[in-house]
Symmetry: C2
Subunit: 184 residues, 2 copies
């Protein structure tokens, strides 16, 4: 999927009271989502945080695995973390994606809650056949701020299980969507 | 899926040189796999370690979220972690599963490598229609020891992506299999 990107947003997201916040980095997100990206042929994985200390932490993790001792011990982890890119804002990520392929960028919000216009993974898979770049956007904490969801070009159906429990980790959700887009 | 269980094995597994080891607990595995279990209606999630200090750590995490401050702050996490059960051996887990439903227990090994007799997730989904109990077995570290894989009743096809990279996290792999068994 040469035209598919992931974005993991740490601002603007919401806390459990649905108040706007910026969240701290969870370093395992970088590993798991990079490994899933590498598995399913994602072109680049953007980690978005406006906080300099969190961006520094992300850079430190990436450097350890791409240029430090980590990568020598575990070359497959090196390959995965080479996909990670850190930006301050979602807009900057979209600009970089545009610049990389010189194609329009379709932004796709994910959420654990159903959006009135949301589309199925199958529908999205068909759209990935076009030449446009696509970026699948994930929120940390209790999810993306509603404004960001609404501003995306598409909203993806939430992942449903056997009941109404909808508290998958962002790591699980990203993995499931990528598998569906590849294998469903 | 009232007849489906997960097991996460910390012994016997292998390191990257394919030598038999016992691995340390990764607490985020408990969270992510419990949340996925809760989402997809898994009946119980076994964490298997012969090491007392690791079992104590697992119990501490579970207690914090089921009876401590964690569960009061985050009731949905409480619900998920209530599914977790800690045993010293895989055999004990299978005995408990047998005792719980008084039905034969079908053990299903997962691996990132193709097993000569492995079955597809779709095939397994059909088998789940029977009344037998089924336990999907995951390895930590570099995967389940070959002997345990071979001793299981079934071996599941590995998850493949767009290339030959096969280094998903166990958290991602479990989530993907459960989604396929539910939604595919």
């Amino acid at each position: 999927m040469d035209n598919l990107y992931l974005a993991l947003v740490h601002f603007p997201v919401v806390n459990k009271k649905n108040e706007p916040i910026g969240s701290a980095l969870t370093t395992i997100d970088l590993h798991d989502m990079a490994r899933a990206s590498m598995t399913f042929g994602v072109r680049g994985f953007y980690v978005i945080t406006p906080f300099q200390d969190q961006a520094d932490l992300a850079d430190q993790v990436i450097r350890h695995w791409t240029h430090g001792a980590g990568g020598r011990l575990n070359p497959s982890r090196k390959q995965a973390l080479e996909l990670v890119r850190v930006t301050q804002t979602f807009e900057t990520a979209v600009e970089q994606i545009y610049a990389e392929r010189n194609q329009p960028v379709v932004t796709i919000a994910t959420s654990a809650k159903k959006h009135k216009n949301s589309v199925s993974t199958r529908k999205l898979k068909q759209r990935l056949g076009s030449n446009a770049s696509h970026v699948l956007v994930f929120g940390t904490a209790w999810g993306l701020a509603q404004e960001l969801v609404d501003n995306c070009d598409l909203q993806l159906d939430p992942i449903t299980g056997t009941g109404d429990y909808n508290h998958l980790s962002v790591r699980s959700a990203a993995s499931i969507y990528l598998d569906r887009l590849t294998n469903d």
